[in-house]
């Protein structure tokens, strides 16, 4: 499989770096209460939503930007960012014909189909997509099909309008605006994102996916995603991200919240490919994201799978609060850094319920002058009897100018808890490369093979369509890194 994919790849350049020339409706630069009112008004929000934003904003103003992560970057100037940018014509299109042809072309280039292809003899696997360009959701597909099962899949903005009771109930219940600096900022200025509710007893029949694209310059993207799986519900959710190549650093600060009720399961997969900056470390996205799920009730499960290849600086810890008894949290991660990229990523598994289990598999790959850190916390609280965690953190180094770091934190407050931690660091072997070459495989493809093999445990967790994309990405992002 991998080799077919690898064959397709033509150049190691960031291939999503184009800019779409569409008119945009922008807010003025800067951040103050008026801007927040502007955003809220643009989105025609009810009063309670505006209040929430303002509370978050006032709280944010009291905070200092955090610096504990193993990354260094110029402090973003929060007054120099455009907090709202919407491609014109505006949101909520009724049919594909109404979509700006430039936009359609964009998505074609990105390889995403927003056509709702007809089911072909029942075998075609389908994905419902929500597309968020800059600050707004452009189009959500398969909405009708899903709503027949009672599934709500729409933009966050629409959910605020159509399902305020659900938004009010769950928003901020996992990541309160007081959680951290960027969560507070997001809560104040978030523009759009996806909302998804799977009702009791429903297994979502297709993958749900949101595709995030930053297009306009000088903007930040602050999306918000909320996923709720009611009792006995199941959903697999995918998230993809790209941005144009720009000299400037753009800020992306998202919040994702997941809630699972009794016996419910959510699988959340990300292929993060924000523009990483050029070879010399110029430009690229600052990706400061808070992702957290809560297994609210018994026997529920949340798994995060991520393939992180993009962004200049990444700061991201998809976490699970294991509150319900027998609940399960999983974190499978591949983080690749090349050139001058920096990533500080990992997870937190907070065991509160009895017999809760968590698994952490982290594969870091560093090349060039990059720095790649794993930071993980496993906490077994008092009363979380028989909780178990297994963590495995592997680092692969390519070349000798990059760095790999592991910061595992373990807190066990209940004696019955068992935590296992394994860590390895290895270098990509010259012997392996020569072995591949002696079979006719060139350096780049050999690296692709070896790296994909190294990440296999994680890639296997991705839905098929995404796994293909992810394998390509891994190979492309490491091109030119060895030999």
């Amino acid at each position: 499989m991998a080799n077919e994919i690898l064959e397709e790849q033509i150049s190691g350049e960031y291939k999503y770096g184009f800019v779409t020339d569409i008119e945009a409706d922008n807010a003025p630069k800067g951040l103050n209460e008026d801007i927040i009112r502007f955003i809220s008004k643009k989105k025609n929000e009810p009063e309670w939503m505006l209040e929430y934003r303002l509370k978050a904003f006032r709280y944010w103003q009291t905070l200092e930007e955090p610096h504990w992560a193993h990354v260094s970057y110029p402090k973003p100037n929060f007054q120099d960012i455009i907090y709202y940018s919407a491609p014109k014509p505006k949101v909520q299109l009724n049919s594909l014909d109404e979509v700006d042809p430039e936009l359609l072309k964009t998505f074609e280039k990105l390889g995403i189909s927003i056509e709702e292809q007809k089911r072909l003899s029942g075998v075609e696997s389908r994905i419902a997509v929500d597309i968020v360009m800059d600050s707004v959701s452009v189009k959500t597909t398969f909405k009708e099909t899903l709503s027949e099962k009672g599934i709500i899949f729409c933009s966050f903005g629409e959910a605020v309008q159509e399902h305020p009771e659900l938004v009010k109930k769950y928003m901020g219940s996992v990541v309160p605006y007081t959680d951290n600096f960027y969560a507070a900022l997001n809560s104040a200025v978030f523009t759009d994102g996806s909302f998804c509710y799977i009702p009791q007893g429903v297994r979502c029949p297709m993958e749900l996916s949101t595709y995030f694209r930053i297009n306009a310059s000088g903007t930040g993207q602050f999306e918000r995603t909320l996923i709720i799986a009611d009792e006995d519900a199941y959903v697999s959710y995918l998230e993809g991200c790209t941005a144009p190549m720009r000299d400037e650093n753009q800020l992306h600060a998202a919040v994702v919240e997941i809630v699972t009720h009794k016996n419910a399961e959510v699988k959340y997969s990300t292929v993060q490919n924000w523009y990483p900056g050029d070879k010399d470390g110029k430009g690229g996205i600052f990706n400061f994201v808070t992702k957290r799920g809560i297994c609210l009730e018994d026997n529920s499960k949340i798994s995060w799978t991520q393939v992180e290849t993009g962004s200049a600086v990444t700061w991201k810890y998809p976490s699970v609060i294991l509150k319900g008894d027998n609940s399960v949290g999983e974190f499978y991660s591949v983080a690749v850094t090349n050139n001058y990229q920096q990533a500080d990523t990992g997870t937190k598994m907070m065991h509160l319920g009895k017999n809760t289990r968590s698994t952490i598999i982290s594969k870091g790959i560093s090349a060039g002058f990059s720095n790649n850190s794993y930071r993980g916390l496993v906490r077994i609280s008092k009363g979380a009897t028989n909780a178990r965690n297994f963590s495995q953190c592997d680092s692969l180094l390519m070349g000798d100018k990059c760095g790999a770091h592991t910061f595992p934190y373990i807190e066990i407050k209940d004696k019955s808890g068992i935590v296992e931690h394994e860590a390895t660091t290895s270098k990509i072997g010259e012997d392996q490369l020569f072995y591949c070459k002696s079979r006719g495989i060139d350096n780049e493809k050999a690296i692709g093979l070896i790296v994909n093999g190294y990440c296999k445990e994680v890639l296997n967790k991705l839905p098929m369509e995404f796994a293909v994309e992810a394998q390509k990405l891994l190979a492309v992002s490491l091109e030119g890194s060895v030999g």
């Binding site: 991998a2 006719g440 093979l449």
Partner: protein, 250 residues
């Protein structure tokens, strides 16, 4: 087909190959024997293109083409195959995927389209049978957790799949049990044709009962000091390397 002239190679300033001359014609099998450390693996690595070695003198051509000019992958694509003395493990990469990549890379080099999936699978089946490789091994990660003998057999399986013009088997017999040895030898014999050639590096004359060489060479301190018919191997087995040492006056 293969022509090595006065080849000198060194590593970290230490000369290991000190003037090798060797001519191999298509359809031939050559055996190279020699004491530990004499440079047999070095010679095969140099032929396969391992970059750690510095070629200080001499030339190597394959069907008239300057082999030393080519990258290791291009040598493989031109038909050179090295069965490693110590095959390398590549975790997470299935043997099948690895070989498919290799075959299609070689095909692309020759301007051919990638092999159809079903043709590829048929080829796997056929070659698996030829070297009696357990089907499970073909699907496992390349050499990962393979026993010593399984690794060797996997090398021959790869050779069968890639159908090289010049195969160099570096001590493929060591670590094989007697049955496996026969199977591997039978595989090599079946793959032999009038268009390809094989260099077999071994310490044991036993292998040469099954793979009968046209010529036996003795490598000693980086030089081929004696060449002869297959009986030379017998003589060597009988007398050990001392008689060579005496002959070369070392």
């Amino acid at each position: 087909m293969l022509s090595i002239k006065n080849l000198h190679a060194s590593i970290d300033g230490k000369e290991i190959l000190r003037g090798i001359n060797l001519e191999v014609k298509t359809g031939e099998i050559h055996a190279i024997m020699g004491p530990n450390g004499s440079g047999k693996s070095t010679l095969s690595a140099v032929l396969a293109g391992k970059e750690d070695y510095e070629i200080t003198e001499g030339s190597v051509t394959l069907n008239g083409k300057d082999l030393l000019e080519l990258s290791p992958e291009d040598r493989a694509r031109e038909g050179v195959f090295l069965a490693f003395q110590y095959p390398v493990e590549i975790p997470g990469v299935s043997n099948i995927n690895f070989l498919k990549t290799a075959i299609n890379e070689i095909r692309a080099y020759k301007g051919q389209t990638p092999m159809e999936a079903k043709d590829f699978l048929a080829l796997v089946k056929e070659k698996q049978k030829l070297v009696e490789l357990d089907g499970k091994l073909a699907n496992r990660s390349v050499n990962e957790g393979f026993s010593g003998g399984e690794k060797k057999r996997n090398e021959i399986f790869q050779m069968a799949m890639l159908e090289p013009k010049l195969a160099i088997l570096d001590e493929t017999d060591s670590g094989l049990d007697i049955d496996a040895l026969k199977i591997v030898a039978a595989g090599v014999n079946k793959l032999k044709s009038k268009d390809n050639a094989t260099i077999v590096i071994t310490h044991y004359q036993r292998l040469l009962d099954y793979i009968v060489p046209d010529v036996v060479h003795i490598l000693y301190k980086g030089k081929i000091v004696k060449s002869g018919p297959k009986e030379l191997a017998l003589e060597l087995e009988e007398k050990g390397y001392d008689f060579i040492k005496e002959e070369v006056g070392a």
